[in-house]
């Protein structure tokens, strides 16, 4: 019986029913909910499948166009990362300013006596937002870090690092927080890991490892680490300055 329904649906949609047949068909649509529902599905299937199969070729062509445009306008990861990360945090200009401030402070403060950590612990501002997002955790982390609230910053950075497990920059700043909070066990593990890698932050991590040694008053170890910082590194001048004081 159902089979007859479907033949009827097909005939109705193809406008092959007689006037009287149409009237009784439409009456059934109005009175029989099940009949009506099946007709609606049948009709929707017809439209959907017809459109899908008719446009298969056109869809392929459209996808071709979109793929081309996609690769043209959406740049792959590595190129974005290089630009975004290195420039955002260690743009030369910014770094030079920070470095010269550190040098000046050094010059005025440690003409006498042993150098101390606070004289060199002039951290670059955390600027993760430059990457173009509005993550609340990022903003909180950044605000906390830049206002020297290292406990809060550490919490937020830990949240961030759970979802960005390979983000060296976040790791580095976590290390700095631990260092500020005197949790050397944690900070040194982080600095060691980054400085032995080949990320853009390797030398910075070495510099911080040296600062950690300085803060722990392990001057020989500090000297040793400082000597590993190559001349090409942005931290080289600072490192040399500290070495002279030790």
């Amino acid at each position: 019986m159902k089979e007859d329904y479907y033949i009827l649906f097909d005939n109705y949609l193809n406008k092959e029913l007689s006037a009287s047949e149409i009237i009784s068909f439409e009456e059934k649509l109005n009175t029989d909910a099940d009949f009506n529902q099946e007709f609606e599905i049948y009709k929707a299937l017809e439209t959907s499948l017809a459109s899908k199969f008719e446009n298969e070729e056109a869809e392929k062509e459209l996808k071709n166009t979109l793929s081309k445009l996609g690769s043209k306008y959406i740049k792959p990861e590595n190129s974005i990362k290089k630009k975004g990360k290195i420039i955002s945090l260690f743009s030369n200009k910014k770094f030079m300013v920070a470095a010269s401030i550190a040098l000046l402070i050094g010059f005025f403060l440690f003409n006498n006596g042993d150098p101390v950590y606070s004289d060199f612990s002039n951290h670059n501002a955390l600027e993760l937002v430059v990457r173009g997002d509005n993550n609340e955790a990022i903003i909180k982390a950044q605000d906390a870090f830049n206002s020297k609230n290292y406990k809060e910053a550490l919490q937020q950075l830990t949240v961030l690092s759970e979802t960005n497990s390979n983000d060296t920059e976040i790791e580095l700043y976590k290390g700095i927080c631990y260092l500020e909070l005197n949790v050397y066990v944690e900070s040194d593990v982080i600095f060691d890991a980054i400085s032995s890698g080949n990320s853009a932050f390797a030398n910075t991590a070495s510099w911080y490892k040296a600062l950690s040694m300085l803060k722990q008053e392990q001057f020989e170890a500090c000297k040793y680490v400082l000597k590993t910082i190559p001349e090409s590194a942005a931290e080289y001048k600072q490192a040399q300055k500290l070495l002279k004081k030790l």
Partner: protein, 193 residues
């Protein structure tokens, strides 16, 4: 009801016409935001490219089949669609750790409605397609041929059967498909809209 198209409807027309000049504007103007969103939420730029393309293809089909008219700005409509598609994708991958909060882009009721329309359209198409694949090979072939070649006489000729038999078979296969759709859970969820 006659809907007045928004001026951004040009993008929908560009999809229908495969007009790469206008389509390139979509990528130029709107892709950046979506790429950032995906990258900040456990995705990479390849993911973003897929999300954008799938969304555009869906809009294309909706426009083709349902004469979809865009009545709101394309930007927010498109961004929201891509965003929700990416969140769905993350769910599929079993990754529920989405850190990003909803950004403050304000959405009007009309935009929300258009987004939902597109999403329901897609869900329905996907349901139909998956049920179609559950049909036997013979039914699939017959229906495919029927929809590609409009004339049932020709279909009968190609398949080497009589016209009457082809007609009867076609409605039988369609009937089977109707039943499959009707009995599916997804259909009942869609009906709830």
């Amino acid at each position: 009801m006659i809907q007045k198209p928004h001026e951004d409807h040009i993008y929908i027309e560009a999809l229908l016409k495969n007009d790469s000049r206008v389509l390139s504007k979509i990528y130029e103007k709107f892709s950046h935001k979506i790429v950032s969103y995906v990258r900040n939420n456990n995705g990479n730029s390849d993911d973003a490219q897929d999300i954008i393309q799938e969304t555009l293809v869906t809009i294309y089909h909706q426009a083709k089949e349902k004469n979809f008219i865009l009545t709101c700005p394309f930007d927010a409509y498109f961004y929201l669609l891509c965003k929700r598609r990416w969140l769905n994708e993350l769910k599929k991958r079993g990754n529920n750790r989405v850190t990003i909060l909803d950004d403050t882009t304000s959405i009007t009721e009309e935009q929300e409605q258009q987004v939902e329309e597109t999403e329901i359209f897609e869900k329905q198409s996907q349901l139909f397609e998956s049920k179609f694949k559950e049909l036997g090979a013979k039914c699939q072939e017959l229906l495919k041929t029927t929809f590609k070649i409009k004339s049932m006489e020709k279909v009968a000729e190609i398949l080497g059967v009589t016209y009457g038999y082809a007609r009867k078979k076609k409605s039988q296969c369609m009937g089977k498909l109707t039943q499959l759709v009707k009995d599916s859970n997804e259909f009942h969820q869609l009906k709830a809209y």
